[in-house]
C-alpha cells in the first residue's frame, strides 16, 4: 500500500463522478490545442502563400473577401477580361506583369478540386514558387524591368523543362495538375482526364508547394472560360508591380482605372492576416478563460462533493493515525492524476480534431505539434491543482471526530 495506489483505487471506485470533471478538462484542453494547432498551420500556410505569390497587387471583384481568395481562389462574382487590356494599354508605370485567372470547382471521383484558367507565360512568371531554383522569380532589384524568363540559360532541370514547354505550348486541351490532385487521382503526365465534359491531357504534374495550389488543376484561361460558359470573365488579376510605383500610388491609379474592382496590395493582405491571427489568438484566450472557469468550477465542485462523501473515510484514516498532510496529499495527488490525464488526453483529442478538421475548416494540411504537449499538460495540471487545493485543505482540516457517524 502506498499513496498512489490508495488514490488510484479511490478514483476507479467513483469513476462516474470523476468522468464529468475529466470530460470538462479534456474537452477544454482539446479545443484550445485544436485552435492553437490549426492557427499555427494556417499562419504558416498563408505565409507560404504570400512567399509564393510573385504578384504584389491583386485585382478582385468588388465583393470578394481576401479569405475567399486565399482559401479557394474562387468567388461567385467575376469581372470582364477586358480589364487586362485596360491595364495593358494604360500608361501606368510600374506594371511588370499581369496574370489573369478564372477558377471553377470541378468534381473528380467524389472530390472537389479547383480548375484554374491561366494565361501561361504571364501566370508562370508571376509564380516564384514553381521556379525550382528561383529562375522565374522576380528580380530582387531592377524594379520596373520586365521579368525575364532565364530558364533557357540554365542547365535544364526536369521541372524547368516541363514548365518551359507548358509556358510556350499550353493548348486548350492540356492541363497541369497540382501534386495533391495527381496523388489522389493517380495521374501521370500523358494521362487523359475529363473535366466538365471536355477531355484534357495531363501535360505535367507540378511539384508540391504546400499551398492550395497543390489541389488545383491548371488549364488555359480561354478553355476554362468556355467551360464556365460566362464569357470572357476573370476572378482575379495578379499583378507584379514595381515597388517604387506601388509606394508612389500605383494601387490608387489602378483603382481609378478599374473603379468596379477591388484592388489590394500584399501589405493589406498581410495586415488582414495579422488581424486574423490576432483574432485567433484572442479566441484561444477566450477559450482558455472558459476552460479555467468551467473546468476549474467542475473540478472544485467534484472535489468538494468528494470530500463531503468521504468524510467518514477521512475520519477513519485520521483515527488510524493519518496526519492532515497525508489527507491533503491524497486529494492533491488525485487532482494531479486528473490533470495529467486531462492534459494528455486533451492534447490527443485536440490534435486529432485539428488534423482531421483543419483541412476542412481552414483548407490547409495540419500536422500534430508535440510542442503543445507540455503546454496542455501544464495548464491542465495547474488548473486541477488550484481548483482542488481548497477542497483538499478542507479535507485535511476536518474534525476527525465529526466525521465519524457514531458520535
Amino acid at each position: 500500500m502506498h499513496l498512489r495506489k490508495l488514490v488510484w483505487r479511490e478514483m476507479f471506485e467513483r469513476k462516474n463522478q470523476l468522468a464529468t470533471s475529466f470530460l470538462a478538462i479534456l474537452l477544454g484542453i482539446a479545443v484550445v490545442v485544436a485552435i492553437q494547432n490549426i492557427s499555427f498551420y494556417s499562419e504558416k500556410a498563408v505565409a507560404a502563400q504570400l512567399d509564393a505569390l510573385g504578384a504584389n497587387i491583386l485585382v478582385l471583384p468588388k465583393s470578394a473577401s481576401l479569405q475567399d481568395y486565399y482559401s479557394a481562389d474562387m468567388q461567385d462574382e467575376e469581372f470582364p477580361e477586358e480589364y487586362v487590356q485596360r491595364l495593358a494599354l494604360s500608361d501606368l508605370q510600374g506594371l511588370d506583369n499581369l496574370s489573369p485567372k478564372l477558377s471553377l470547382p470541378v468534381k473528380l471521383r467524389e472530390r472537389t478540386f479547383t480548375l484554374t484558367g491561366i494565361l501561361p507565360k504571364s501566370e508562370f512568371q508571376a509564380k516564384a514558387m514553381w521556379s525550382g531554383a528561383g529562375i522565374f522569380s522576380r528580380p530582387a532589384e531592377g524594379c520596373g524591368a520586365v521579368a525575364d524568363v532565364p530558364g533557357i540559360f540554365r542547365p535544364p532541370a526536369r521541372e524547368t523543362l516541363v514548365r518551359q514547354r507548358v509556358i510556350d505550348d499550353l493548348s486548350d486541351t492540356e492541363v497541369l495538375t497540382g501534386a495533391d490532385v495527381a496523388a489522389v487521382l493517380g495521374l501521370q503526365p500523358g494521362d487523359s482526364l475529363e473535366l466538365l465534359g471536355r477531355r484534357f491531357t495531363v501535360t505535367a504534374v507540378l511539384p508540391p508547394t504546400g499551398t492550395v495550389d497543390d489541389a488545383r488543376l491548371f488549364a488555359h484561361l480561354h478553355a476554362v472560360q468556355e467551360l464556365a460558359g460566362k464569357g470572357p470573365v476573370l476572378n482575379a488579376i495578379e499583378i507584379v508591380g514595381c515597388c517604387h510605383e506601388i509606394s508612389g500610388g500605383l494601387v490608387q491609379k489602378i483603382n481609378k482605372l478599374l473603379p468596379e474592382a477591388k484592388v489590394v496590395t500584399i501589405a493589406q493582405v498581410v495586415d488582414t492576416q495579422v488581424r486574423t491571427n490576432q483574432m485567433m489568438a484572442r479566441l484561444s484566450l477566450i477559450f482558455l478563460a472558459i476552460i479555467v472557469l468551467v473546468g476549474g468550477a467542475s473540478i472544485a465542485n467534484y472535489m468538494y462533493a468528494n470530500v463531503y462523501e468521504r468524510r467518514r473515510e477521512i475520519g477513519t484514516f485520521m483515527a488510524l493515525g493519518a496526519s492532515s498532510a497525508v489527507i491533503l496529499k491524497m486529494f492533491l495527488l488525485k487532482a494531479l492524476l486528473l490533470g495529467l490525464a486531462g492534459g494528455i488526453c486533451g492534447y490527443g483529442l485536440g490534435t486529432v480534431l485539428a488534423v482531421s478538421l483543419g483541412p476542412r475548416v481552414a483548407g490547409i494540411p495540419v500536422l500534430p505539434m508535440p510542442v503543445l504537449v507540455p503546454w496542455a499538460i501544464g495548464i491542465s495540471v495547474a488548473l486541477a491543482l488550484v481548483a482542488s487545493y481548497f477542497p483538499a485543505r478542507r479535507a485535511a482540516r476536518l474534525d476527525p471526530c465529526a466525521t465519524l457517524q457514531e458520535v
Binding site: 500500500m1 483505487r9 479511490e10 476507479f12 471506485e13 488510524l320 493515525g321 471526530c401 457514531e406 458520535v407
Partner: protein
C-alpha cells in the same frame, strides 16, 4: 490513561448538550474495561476523548504520561498511529480496498515498506481466521468477517490501547462472542481494552465496568 475533571459540551439546535460532566477516571495499563450506559449518555464521546480525537471543553486527559490535548493535532495523530487502535461499530473499512489492503493502511501510515506491509497484513488476517479472504473487498465479506478485518487492522501497528465502540453491536450473538474472544486474547497479550457496549453479556467479559449516566462516570 487518566481523565481529570473532563467536561465536554456541544451546541445543538442552539442548546448546550453536556456529553461529559466533570468526569474523572483512571484506567491502568492492561485493564479490560467496559463502558455501559443508556444511549446519549456520552459513552462514544468518552472513547473519542480518550483516543485524542475530540478535545474536551474542560479538564485534562493523560495518555502514558502525556497531556493529550497539549499536543498538536498532528502529534496526536502520531500518538494514535503508534499507541491507540480504534474499533468501530460499523467497522469503517475502506470500501474500495481489499481486506489485506485495509489492514495495510495503518502500516503504510507508519512508513512500513509495501512488501513487509503485505506480509504482516496477511499474518494478522490469518490470526483472525481470514487467511483465505485476503483479496476480498468488504462488500464481499459477511458482517462478522468485516469486523474481524477491522480487528486485524487495529492490531497492525501493535497498539498498547484498544478503544472499541460497540464492537458487537451489529453482529449476531455467535459472531459477537467470537469478536469478544479476540478482544480477550488481545487483553491477555497485555493490551488495555476500553469497550463501549450496550450488551450486558459483552460487558460481563470485561474485568471492570464503568457506568455513564448524564455524562457522569460511576464504577459498577
Amino acid at each position: 490513561m487518566r481523565l481529570e475533571s473532563v467536561s465536554k459540551t456541544y451546541r445543538h439546535n442552539r442548546r448546550t448538550v453536556t456529553a461529559l460532566d466533570n468526569a474523572s477516571v483512571q484506567i491502568a495499563a492492561g485493564e479490560f474495561v467496559a463502558v455501559v450506559g443508556p444511549s446519549g449518555s456520552g459513552k462514544s464521546t468518552l472513547l473519542l476523548v480518550l483516543g485524542g480525537m475530540l478535545s474536551p471543553t474542560a479538564g485534562k486527559v493523560y495518555l502514558n504520561g502525556h497531556a493529550l490535548y497539549d499536543l498538536s493535532p498532528n502529534q496526536r495523530a502520531e500518538l494514535r498511529r503508534r499507541q491507540v487502535g480504534f474499533v468501530f461499530q460499523t467497522f469503517n473499512l475502506v470500501p474500495y480496498l481489499t481486506a489485506r489492503e485495509n489492514v495495510q493502511v495503518p502500516l503504510y501510515l507508519a512508513d512500513m515498506k509495501p512488501a513487509a506491509q503485505r506480509e504482516r497484513a496477511a499474518a494478522l488476517l490469518e490470526r483472525v481466521g481470514l487467511g483465505d479472504r485476503l483479496d476480498h473487498k468488504p462488500s464481499e465479506l459477511s458482517i462478522g468477517q468485516q469486523q474481524r478485518v477491522a480487528l486485524a487492522r487495529v492490531l497492525a501497528n501493535d497498539p498498547g490501547i484498544i478503544l472499541a465502540d460497540e464492537p458487537t453491536g451489529n453482529l449476531d450473538p455467535e459472531t459477537g462472542q467470537h469478536i469478544l474472544d479476540l478482544l480477550e486474547d488481545m487483553n491477555r497479550e497485555g493490551r488495555t481494552i476500553v469497550m463501549v457496549t450496550h450488551d450486558p453479556r459483552a460487558a460481563a467479559r470485561a474485568k471492570r465496568t464503568l457506568r455513564l449516566q448524564n455524562g457522569r462516570i460511576s464504577q459498577e
